[in-house]
């Protein structure tokens, strides 16, 4: 899931400038779970803007902001309001903001900061576990991601800097590679560490990526 946090309301207000007529869009996927773009947060932001003399013409929580065709269809319902509106606020992740902006011929501003791809540990607590590196090596690392959890992002075992099992960079974190080793030991798969992981290519991930899954098969 994509983890977000609300920007300061004050900052959102500033990004509106002198514009008066506003539409707020939420997202019922990740942003709802993060409580940054669900019904309640949309209502909250609306109240705040109204006390600050903005005219919130309409609000809508989209099913999946980052789904282009679906959002396009759902936004048709707001057609009339959209023609009079000055700025659209999107309470989704950074991708959702851009999808909405691609659909509308309108200024769209974000209400959230997008932080990471992560896991919901329990209500309100999220943790980063994947950096979307494009070449998943969890199969050889006992499903513990070294790209994310090792402070140096090392792909070929530990750096030797751990002390008492803790990472040399931050004593509060366990060394990811020692965790990987211990978990592989439990699984009786330590031999997976013996193979040298080849030097990785970064050419694919250095510019915007896109794929067409339909081409395969």
């Amino acid at each position: 899931m994509v983890i977000t946090k609300n920007k300061d309301y004050n900052e959102i207000l500033k990004s509106l400038g002198n514009n008066k007529n506003i539409i707020i869009l939420g997202c019922s996927e990740c942003a709802s779970v993060c409580k940054t773009g669900g019904e309640d947060q949309v209502v909250d932001l609306k109240k705040y803007l109204e006390t600050n003399n903005k005219n919130v013409q309409n609000t809508k929580v989209l099913s999946t902001s980052c789904n282009f065709l679906l959002s396009k269809k759902e936004l048709k319902e707001l057609k009339d309001d959209l023609t009079n509106c000055d700025v659209v606020i999107s309470m989704s992740c950074g991708n959702g903001v851009q999808t909405v902006s691609d659909i509308l011929n309108q200024q769209v501003v974000p209400a959230n900061d997008t932080l990471f791809v992560g896991e919901k540990i329990r209500s309100g607590i999220f943790e980063e576990n994947c950096r979307t590196c494009g070449e998943c090596l969890l199969g050889r690392t006992a499903a513990i991601c070294p790209v994310t959890r090792c402070a140096k992002g090392l792909l070929n075992g530990p750096c030797g800097g751990a002390k008492y099992g803790k990472c040399e960079v931050n004593e509060e974190n366990d060394c990811a590679w020692i965790e990987i080793y211990n978990r592989l030991l439990e699984l009786d798969k330590v031999e997976l560490l013996e193979e040298v992981y080849p030097i990785r290519s970064y050419s694919e991930s250095s510019s915007k990526r896109s794929i067409n899954n339909r081409r395969k098969k």
Partner: protein, 296 residues
Amino acid sequence: MINSKLETALNNNKFAITAELAPPKGTDFSRILGIAQELFQYVDAVNVTDFQSASVKATSLALCIELANRGIQPVLQITGRDRNRIAIQGELLSAAHFGIQNILCLTGDHPTSGDNPEAKPVFELDAIGILKTAETLMKGIDLGRNELSPPFPQFYCGAVTSPEYSPIELELIQMKKKIKMGAKFFQTQGVFDIKTVEDFSNQTKDMNTNILIGIIPLKSPGMARFMNRKVPGIEVPDNLIHLLEKSSNKTEEGIKIAADFIMELKDRKICNGVHIMAIGAEDNVLKILDKAGLIG
């Protein structure tokens, strides 16, 4: 090309000695070159750190070139912290041009532990990746599979290891990978306990590699306790800390402890040599070698 003295020593089962020097934080190399001049006839190579402790200094290559020009064989340390594969390959080719053969490949400390903690870390290649890179260049191609113009570089590559690492089994796996990628020798983190070396010698027997045990002369009980608390892989035993506490000349005591340890290592033949890291007190290396009977 002159052969690596270190390689020759290790191949002939001589007890090899290397000493570590750091380039200055500044532009004047005279003090460090002076120390190197005094030392070089007693050591097999002078090992030059690469932005040691992730701190800004003159480069390892610059001091290595100065040494090589004076007929002193250096070991060029090279880490993956500050350079991507293009810079690392360029650095290695440049080293080869100046006749520098000994290369020590390290992952490197994180910038946050150094004196410019805001720096962006690179770590595109780790120690294993740098070893692989050196091996690739020796074959006459670069990592992008482009041909080099001859003559191709000749390197004698080493890596680091840590006998007190826990779990040691994981460190041994790393060592084997480094050997597979071309490491011919290892220098270890500072060790103070002969039992650790004995165990490590047994654990690594099947690897058929060369191990230079790291020697760090202690300067005070405070330094020992600090390293025990903070420095990865360092375990100074209590009896040594007591010795230092009782001593009226702590530096001399530290030198004696180091010299005694080296003599014992040499007598017992449980390693292939030593690597002396006299962090910030490089003038003491000669005294240690003298006390250990390794001079003259």
